[in-house]
């Protein structure tokens, strides 16, 4: 039991608890803010898994832009954001069962597949910006370019969807 393991377990716990608060909070703003905590904890987990660049990107893009975008959308739609603003549907009991069963099933599959495996902390290759840049622009350059097209399409789609008035 190394120190990394302990810290990882603690941060993982933080991520799970805050995620639980995200999905059970009855105020949307609180949920969004708890999501920040979750995303931050996951970024910490990336660091502990030696994924340096991914952790930074997580902080920058997720915590920076995605959550801010969410908050902006909430403010734009002027939906009620006070207590009781985020209710559950009648589907909740079934959702609980399905989600719980899915979690258990996934965990069981993981355990069956990788139950005894251990990450050797001495042979870890740290995912620095240089290495990842090397990998993306050498090995994964084609998916990268395709992704740029997807982003462009999403950009255009978002503009079309939110445009008002004349059709």
């Amino acid at each position: 039991m190394t120190a990394v393991t302990v810290v990882f377990a603690a941060m993982g716990l933080v991520a799970l608890v805050s995620a639980f608060l995200v999905v059970t909070s009855d105020q949307i703003i609180h949920a969004a803010l708890w999501l920040v905590v979750t995303l931050g904890a996951v970024a910490g987990l990336y660091v502990l898994l030696a994924a340096e660049l991914v952790a930074w990107v997580q902080v920058l893009i997720y915590m920076g832009s995605v959550v801010v975008l969410l908050l902006f959308a909430l403010m734009l739609t002027r939906t009620p954001t006070g207590p009781g603003s985020a209710t559950v549907t009648r589907n909740q009991p079934l959702a609980t069962v399905v989600a719980g069963a899915t979690t258990v099933a996934l965990g069981a599959v993981m355990w069956a597949g990788f139950g005894g495996e251990v990450i050797d902390e001495d042979e870890v290759r740290v995912g620095t910006a240089a290495r990842l840049g090397d990998a993306i622009f050498r090995t994964w350059v084609l998916p990268f370019e395709v992704l740029s097209v997807v982003l462009l399409a999403a950009l255009v789609g978002a503009i079309v969807l939110t445009r008002r008035g004349e059709r």
Binding site: A19, I28, V42, L49, T79, A86, T96, G127, A135
Partner: protein, 110 residues
């Protein structure tokens, strides 16, 4: 560090995200659930990348792509929520009113 540790955290995040998608009424909450599920997948990818000590960093590169896709998805998703709000007057996924009367009005609340 046992590989199961990040995998368990990932499973938990996925289950919570799925619950949010299936049970919450507000469309934004559904989007939050989707983000949680994407994060669970990303965590899995990074964990396996590290465990495998991959030289070309397949998992981490895919995680970056996923994050980019998530950004695009959240942008589109919020645009849809905005359009829904304009049309219906709320952002509930189980809209209570029949859509015909709503389309006829085509509300311009913003």
């Amino acid at each position: 560090m046992p590989l199961m540790l990040p995998l368990v955290v990932s499973c938990g995040l996925f289950g919570l995200g799925l619950y949010a998608v299936l049970a919450r009424r507000h469309a934004v909450m559904v989007l939050l659930g989707i983000e949680l599920m994407l994060n669970a997948a990303s965590l899995n990818l990074v964990a396996f990348d590290t465990w495998w000590a991959d030289t070309v960093h397949t998992g981490q590169s895919l995680t970056l792509f996923v994050i980019a896709l998530a950004a695009a998805e959240i942008g589109l998703g919020l645009a849809i929520v905005l359009a829904l709000f304009r049309a219906v007057g709320n952002s509930d996924v189980d809209g209570q009113e029949p859509p015909t009367s709503l389309l006829a009005e085509g509300g311009d609340e913003l």
